[in-house]
Symmetry: D2
Subunit: 229 residues, 4 copies
Amino acid sequence: MTAIQFTDRSTVELIKTDFADEWPVLAARTSTLGAKSTPEEREGLIDCLIRERHGVPFEHMHISYRVTTPIFVWRQIVKHRAGVSLSEESGRYRELEPEFYVLPPSRPVSQTGKPMAYQFEQGDDNQFMTACAAQASAGSFCWYLYENQLKMGIAREVARMVLPLNTMSTGILTFNARSLMHFLQLRTEAAGSHPQFEIARVAEQLAVHPASAAPITFESFIKHGSIAP
Amino acid sequence: MTAIQFTDRSTVELIKTDFADEWPVLAARTSTLGAKSTPEEREGLIDCLIRERHGVPFEHMHISYRVTTPIFVWRQIVKHRAGVSLSEESGRYRELEPEFYVLPPSRPVSQTGKPMAYQFEQGDDNQFMTACAAQASAGSFCWYLYENQLKMGIAREVARMVLPLNTMSTGILTFNARSLMHFLQLRTEAAGSHPQFEIARVAEQLAVHPASAAPITFESFIKHGSIAP
Amino acid sequence: MTAIQFTDRSTVELIKTDFADEWPVLAARTSTLGAKSTPEEREGLIDCLIRERHGVPFEHMHISYRVTTPIFVWRQIVKHRAGVSLSEESGRYRELEPEFYVLPPSRPVSQTGKPMAYQFEQGDDNQFMTACAAQASAGSFCWYLYENQLKMGIAREVARMVLPLNTMSTGILTFNARSLMHFLQLRTEAAGSHPQFEIARVAEQLAVHPASAAPITFESFIKHGSIAP
Amino acid sequence: MTAIQFTDRSTVELIKTDFADEWPVLAARTSTLGAKSTPEEREGLIDCLIRERHGVPFEHMHISYRVTTPIFVWRQIVKHRAGVSLSEESGRYRELEPEFYVLPPSRPVSQTGKPMAYQFEQGDDNQFMTACAAQASAGSFCWYLYENQLKMGIAREVARMVLPLNTMSTGILTFNARSLMHFLQLRTEAAGSHPQFEIARVAEQLAVHPASAAPITFESFIKHGSIAP
């Protein structure tokens, strides 16, 4: 029996990518001349594509990550349908790992205001400890129920029904540059969206590599308000 | 405080639909003459479209359901991306209902064999009772943790992290006739797929109304092996 | 042999729709209570959904049109992939109609400036007449080549290769309210896009019925700059 | 003025790809262990995924081509919406090239039978010559009309309306392995589909590189009847 683990962060590991500023240029020009353009020409064209919201040229390059994040975050990630591919591990076929999310100290826990206009506040120590204790208790108790069922020969797909939404789960996630920009628009605060704290932390990590691999594209994206083309 | 409920079934309620055999005929002919065709002409054309796998003409009619099913089933439903729209209630904006799924007596609980070639067997009474008890315990205990957090003023989006995957959740689900046939192909056993028991029960309910509203279409679909065009 | 027709406009005929402001409300609340809300409640909720760009609740209602427009416009329409279904008549299966697009007098024909920043000017009479004459000549000459091949027993799918892009073609086009708003954002000038004259005329006609069938939704859309949620 | 060119074939040029059998294995296992598996393990897993129609693991690798083919073929290509990205050169922004498709000698030109059950026969020399002459005439005459309009200062987007469907056009086309298999299923004759001659020639060329880059995947695909998972 594996020891139960708790974690307060999601992990995002780069698997592979072909992100580079030459590809949207090549696609926009439908010509290999695109690859031979000067940096200045690339910059002018990419900036124009993003400003005028011509998104298709950014669909021809891809990035794949291995992401480990709680199930409640996966339930938000899968809402992104266009240009996103997701292979999440299946509790039907495999015994899951006993790892559960608990809040990091920086996580605001108190909510005020009305739907679509919530304010979050840090909350007091008692609130924070209560939330973390609930997460740890749910993880521990439900994991015991899960393992006990497996020992009894009950099917994995039945046993997993008791696991809580803070169970960590791993998947391979592939975006094209356009769908990634759309994800960043909705799942970071940069464009005025209100993402949940946990998915915003994932989004921040997804944005790191693209910023260095296709710097003109992602600088232009940020310059134009983090609105996806 | 609302009393905790347990249920062993998903509910599927028809909201609205315009399913009728005349629409694929109209679309295939791109002509309102389609609507004036005889039943025999409709039958021949629809059968041909399904046999030859011309699916687009079936995309012009829609059906909307209100579905209440456990979160682990929603996680399978959302994998259907093309031609499906889903608005599920959000635990960020609303306090959830204390309703949890427990197995119905007909549910096989014992799994043998290897991945992608599992066999399910009914299992013995002890296994069945253990699984149901685990589901009821997870629901009761985690609901207590959820409500206690809300009482402390902790944000709904934080409190819900402890809820188990057998929590019932409600959503509005809209298909076109093509995406519905694709769902039925993968989520019933008719075409040789291996859906999980619970989603297959939802799929069966989704198939009831279409069979009477667009009988030529859905009889032809079944006749050709429940393979979506 | 049918007489050749020329036309300077596209036609958009409503086939069917279930557009109504109650459906996004129902979907956002995942509850039939949505249908019983007051007009003021609907207005507040819909406005909030559009402002905050929550688009999914608008995907549960649909509208189908029969559109006749030149092939060069269809080539722009098909670029809209998400939430749009299109059944265009096929020149493989059916003999086409001899109808061709020529410019209406209001159509600017002179272009100045650089890519992505073009200016259009009305042009002089000579330019306008030259363009119209070219369109009429291409239609007449190529139609003769088309019909002659058919008379020789040449396959329709071969014969049609000679038809020009101003050939009128008919299709059934179905949108949900979200994909329609996205189409209007990109294919009318309201949100700062630069659509081609001919597709903008189609878009205007597509917007007429929704404005009366779901007035709160489409007024809110326009109020927020014709940016699709 | 560029000389008019005629061609009887489409060209397909590989731009870039990361196709390799390790990626579906990695995705199916959601683990980098996938990359370390033995060839036998990969073969067993990939064959199982294709046989059981688990398609998502094949969505994490991509291939980009530069394709030059007649506009009537592009009109068929764009019908593939899921997992396909297409940047075709635009006649709004750029002056087009005077290249036109004419039939190759192997192209059957005579069609008998009824819709959805056509038979093609080679046809006689007179039919073949008539079709080719029509294609060449349409190209030459319409190109003259196009160039004449441009010389008069008429906008490119107006001038191009007269070009025939056999005008060659170039685009960048990106598939993932799943969407490519789906394209090959519908656009080659291998799975019983009835693609038009010209798009089938494009599909054959699209299949060449994948067969060597991801041999296990594409052999398994063919072995299972060229039915996409």
